[in-house]
């Protein structure tokens, strides 16, 4: 039988509440969000035949499959890179469906990274530094006091800020906008809690002179899942299909997750540029074809670096773009309309990708209405996807 290319779509999204203390195990959160994604799609969880997550998730594939009663799992994978791999799950689910390997791919992420352990604290669990979990050179930084994601992220961003004459005050506008979105999102931890530039500037230094508290993503408990299937099948399911028009990963030479200090030009994000190049080639689309973008915002400077990496702004111009309202709901490119990882929750990038699905469906609480949402970019830096209306 000839093998054919099958178009893929996101048929379901599911999530638990986002909190600081879920009161239940990560496995339970995983099972709950997975079931919710299946229910959203109208797919029996027992019919899942592919499962994808990424490293630093503590729930075992088989244990979760057993919770869901999965009858016959055809494929599992766990993508390296932690949060940088968030959008790679969509890419790999798409590829599995394209190739006809799987019919119903579950993507999941569930963590108690506030109540059970602290993601932002100096790690007392070296699992996060070992091969496949994190990155190559993190171990080298520990004796020098760079032992949190914020310290690595700041070290990565400082030269960028310096090169373009920016300071921490220029980052405030990213944070204020995201908290404005969160303030109108009942699922966001910071629902009804907007901030001002002054609040941002009054928040304490986490890593001077780059990151203040309000530049950082949250530590959250919660789970998010997606159900990916073929476009044809999705058309017969409960929700309007969200097409995965294109998706890819890019890990250029000498680039690594978060301890990204060894590639040629530290004032840019080569992985985002690499993803952009592949994605725009693959889809035939361009930045101006996107009506919204969900960009991984572990720390505020990375929003700017991705805006530039994907070609929405020229190098060094993203801060001015944001300050002028570019990422606001009526701006040229609404970004992180759920409030992002700083405003809504930090489910390792997955919750912002779910917002991308809602924007295509037209169901976001902060729905973009200025233009019809045809295409949304979701990016986790080392991977990205274009989600589109059917």
């Amino acid at each position: 039988m000839a093998r054919t290319f099958t178009e893929a779509a996101i048929a379901g999204i599911g999530a638990t509440e986002f909190s600081k203390a879920s009161g239940r195990s990560e496995l339970q959160l995983a099972a709950e969000c997975a079931k919710a994604a299946c229910d959203d799609a109208g797919v029996d969880p027992r019919d899942i035949d592919g499962m994808i997550t990424f490293t630093i998730d503590n729930s075992d594939e088989i244990t979760l499959a057993r919770c869901l009663g999965v009858k016959d799992l055809a494929y599992t994978t766990r993508i390296p890179g932690g949060g940088a791999a968030a959008a790679a799950t969509i890419f790999q689910a798409m590829a599995l469906v394209n190739a006809g390997v799987c019919k119903n791919v579950l993507i999941w992420r569930a963590m108690n990274e506030r109540s059970q352990y602290r993601f932002g604290q100096p790690s007392t669990d070296f699992k996060g530094y070992t091969n496949g979990h994190g990155t190559g050179t993190l171990l080298w930084n520990i004796p020098f006091g760079a032992m949190t994601p914020a310290s690595w992220g700041a070290l990565q961003a400082q030269r960028y800020l310096w090169k373009y004459g920016l300071t921490n005050a220029d980052l405030a506008h990213v944070c204020v906008q995201q908290r404005k979105y969160a303030a109108t999102n009942p699922n966001a931890w910071f629902y009804q809690k907007p901030i001002t530039v002054e609040d941002h500037q009054a928040s304490k230094w986490i890593v001077e002179p780059v990151l203040r508290l309000l530049d950082c993503c949250q530590e959250s408990d919660g789970g998010v899942a997606f159900l990916v299937t073929s476009l044809d099948r999705a058309r017969d399911l409960k929700q309007k299909p969200v097409r995965i028009t294109g998706a890819c990963q890019s890990i250029p030479y000498n680039v690594e997750v978060i301890a990204n200090f060894h590639h040629a030009d530290m004032t840019e994000m080569p992985e985002a540029k690499g993803v952009a190049k592949r994605l725009w080639e693959m889809t035939g689309l361009k930045p101006t074809d996107m009506q919204a973008a969900m960009l991984y915002d572990a720390f505020s400077p990375h929003v700017l670096l991705q805006l530039e990496g994907f070609g929405f702004c020229k190098p060094g111009e993203a801060a001015a773009f944001v300050k002028s309202g570019g990422m606001a709901i009526d701006g040229a490119l609404p970004v992180n309309t759920n409030g992002g990882l700083s405003g809504e929750a930090y489910i390792h990038g997955m919750n912002s990708m779910a917002e991308g699905v809602r924007q295509i469906r037209g169901t976001s609480v902060n729905q973009v209405t200025k233009k019809t949402v045809e295409h949304v970019l979701v990016s986790s830096g080392m991977a990205g996807a274009v989600l589109s209306k059917d």
């Binding site: 007392t124 669990d125 070296f126 171990l139 020098f144 760079a146 914020a150 070290l155 230094w205």
Partner: protein
């Protein structure tokens, strides 16, 4: 794979032992080093052993002469497995820097300045800049290597203003 030395280092971090960093009360005259020792892997062993002797070394391809960091078995340029550890000049510039303040990093009595040092040989190395106040930090300032003690009688390369 990480070698045995890592698992030995891990004991300093296991959650059921007290944090070695928080309850150190140094005598005023001879403060004991509280900086964390390096985490030694199969690939980094030679580097840290040299550092203990106050030598700052780098790995170079024996065939094509390309420097690389981190140390690795194969040259990405010519794929040779032949490699040698050579003394580096110890000179470089501050390529990027910051001061982690909260939560306070383990191993420091005062917040350190962490910097990506652009080494003269072309590779980069994350370290500290010592003896320079945060307000005096300058991008691309010239620095040179020196060494500081860690717990467990090890040493790590740090950087001071060149000529200071």
């Amino acid at each position: 794979m990480l070698g045995l030395p890592l698992s030995l280092q891990l004991t300093a971090f296991s959650s059921d032992t007290e944090n070695p960093m928080t309850d150190v009360a140094p005598p005023p005259d001879a403060p004991k080093p509280i900086r964390l020792p390096p985490i030694v892997t199969m690939e980094s062993k030679e580097f840290w052993e040299a550092a203990d002797k106050e030598e700052f070394i780098g790995q170079k391809c024996s065939d094509c002469g390309t420097f690389r960091f981190p140390p690795q078995p194969m040259c990405a340029h010519c794929h040779s497995l032949q490699r040698e550890d050579v003394q580096l000049s110890g000179y470089g510039t501050v390529h990027s820097w910051c001061m982690p303040r909260h939560p306070p990093p383990f191993g420091f009595r005062e917040p350190p300045i962490v910097a990506v040092i652009q080494l003269q040989e072309g590779t980069r190395f994350v370290s500290n800049v010592v003896g320079v106040k945060i307000e005096d930090m300058r991008q691309d300032m010239e620095v040179e290597v020196c060494f500081e003690d860690t717990m467990n009688k090890h040493k790590v390369p740090v950087f001071k203003r060149r000529g200071s």
